[in-house]
Amino acid sequence: MSNNALCAISNTAWAVLIGLIIILIFVGLWVKHRLAEKARIAAFINERTALKMEQIDNNKVAFYTEFDIANSGKRNEAMVLDAFGRSEMPKEQYDKARLSVRLERATDRRDDGYMEAFAFFDGPREKMIYTFTVESPSQSILQTIEEIKDIKLALYIHSVGRDDGFIRRWYFIATQEEMKKALNDAGVYTNARVC
């Protein structure tokens, strides 16, 4: 073979090699992208503490419960941009009471209803305090507790990690019995009567 032919083969081989390297780099990046660990927020709502009474007056009572949240993704950081609770009891279900919900971090309690964004790695759990207030302007709060049925409460967490931001939702039920027990434990309510 002539020198020119050898040179042409050599050039082709180099071009193929460089092309292969570039393809390998892109494949590597794609694989890293696909295999990247994702942040997953888990709320251990089933392990929540029993309801406790926070405060009470004639027309209003506040209960709270505590539970943990964690980042169950591996080797990843999750940033909680926002977290909040909502009551799922519409007036069509019971119109003599109004419910409001407040969610706080146990380590950063605040009274303005604002949830400051925070980051956490996989492993340590974050304790949350979920407070809901039942208000009944037209009648005694104890009467309301007697009449009210179970209350469905929701928890929403908006978080972001390496992947797209997402919102997750969890539910739990505050039963009438549990509310009565919390009042009972606080010593303000026994057998449907005010102490």
Partner: protein, 288 residues
């Protein structure tokens, strides 16, 4: 609050010790928003407490917020390059989410950021760290990811400020200060001065602010007044001059001491030579 500046400086004549202090006044404000003008806000909160010898330092994130340079997650659509590149940045860094990376690409250009990443990676293989941040533009160093700024901007990606020269000049002119600076200070003893008005020495301000008088986010002290900066600089010049004189005197004394020692050594050498010559003479005469 007082800032203590203690350091050693190398000069042609030797090492001089600088030991100075100055008063710094952190100013508490409400949360400043994009509806505020930073110069007006400083005027509002500092009033007449600023003199023409003072320097006003303002936190860079607050300047950026007053310029509206913050972005909501809902308004950012990450592209594939952003999704891939963010995976190579440390989790605790500000570019570890695809949203922050996308905003950086929007601001500095996708090609520039990708090129900086490739060159930075190659540089790292050869032991050259930090190339990416040098090549990918200022915002790569200044960007704050979610939860990096005080509420309510903790839910946004916040850039560094722009038109910084105009900002420091407007602050200086508005409040009648000696000068103004924009600073990026943290609790890790790192104080970067992004911009300084004419006559203000960035390195000195950096030393004065090293203990982070801005505090953490919840302290709401985005403005710090460095009192009597002009006098501080005068003191610094005086101290440098005094230290230089001290060094010169020390050097002169040292030279004199060395000269004395050399003369003593020479004298001893001469005496020894004389003694040896005398001994030789005596031994010669004894032989005779």
């Amino acid at each position: 609050m007082r800032a203590y500046v203690k350091r050693q400086e190398q000069t042609a004549k030797g090492t001089i010790n600088i030991n100075l202090e100055c008063e710094i006044v952190p100013v508490k404000t409400r949360i400043l928003t994009h509806r505020d003008n930073i110069a007006d806000a400083i005027k509002e909160y500092c009033g007449d407490s600023i003199t023409d010898k003072d320097v006003v330092a303002v936190a860079e994130s607050v300047v950026a917020i007053t310029q509206g340079r913050f972005y909501d997650i809902a308004d950012i659509k990450p592209t594939l390059p952003a999704k891939v590149l963010c995976l190579f940045f440390p989790l605790k860094g500000s570019l570890s989410t695809r949203y922050a990376m996308q905003k950086l690409m929007d601001e500095e250009g996708t090609f520039r950021v990708c090129s900086a990443f490739i060159i930075g990676t190659i540089g790292k293989l050869f032991g050259q760290r930090g190339l990416f941040y040098k090549l990918a533009g200022n915002q790569s160093r200044l960007i704050d990811d979610f939860s990096g700024t005080m509420p309510p901007y903790d839910k946004y990606i916040v850039f560094g400020p722009n038109k910084t020269k105009e900002v420091v000049n407007s602050i200086r002119d508005k409040v009648g200060a000696f000068g103004a600076v924009i600073a990026d200070v943290n609790d890790l003893k790192k104080a970067d001065i992004l911009e300084a008005s004419k006559g203000v020495v960035k390195a000195e301000i950096s030393q004065i602010l090293i203990d982070n008088p801005f505090g953490n986010a919840s302290e709401k002290t985005p403005i710090t007044i460095i009192k009597n900066y002009a006098l501080y600089m005068q003191d610094l010049a005086n101290q440098r001059a005094a230290e230089t004189v001290r060094l010169e005197n020390e050097n002169r004394r040292e030279k004199a001491r060395l000269a004395d020692e050399a003369a003593e050594a020479e004298k001893a050498k001469r005496i020894e030579a004389y003694r040896q010559a005398e001994e030789k003479k005596l031994s010669d005469s004894a032989e005779k």
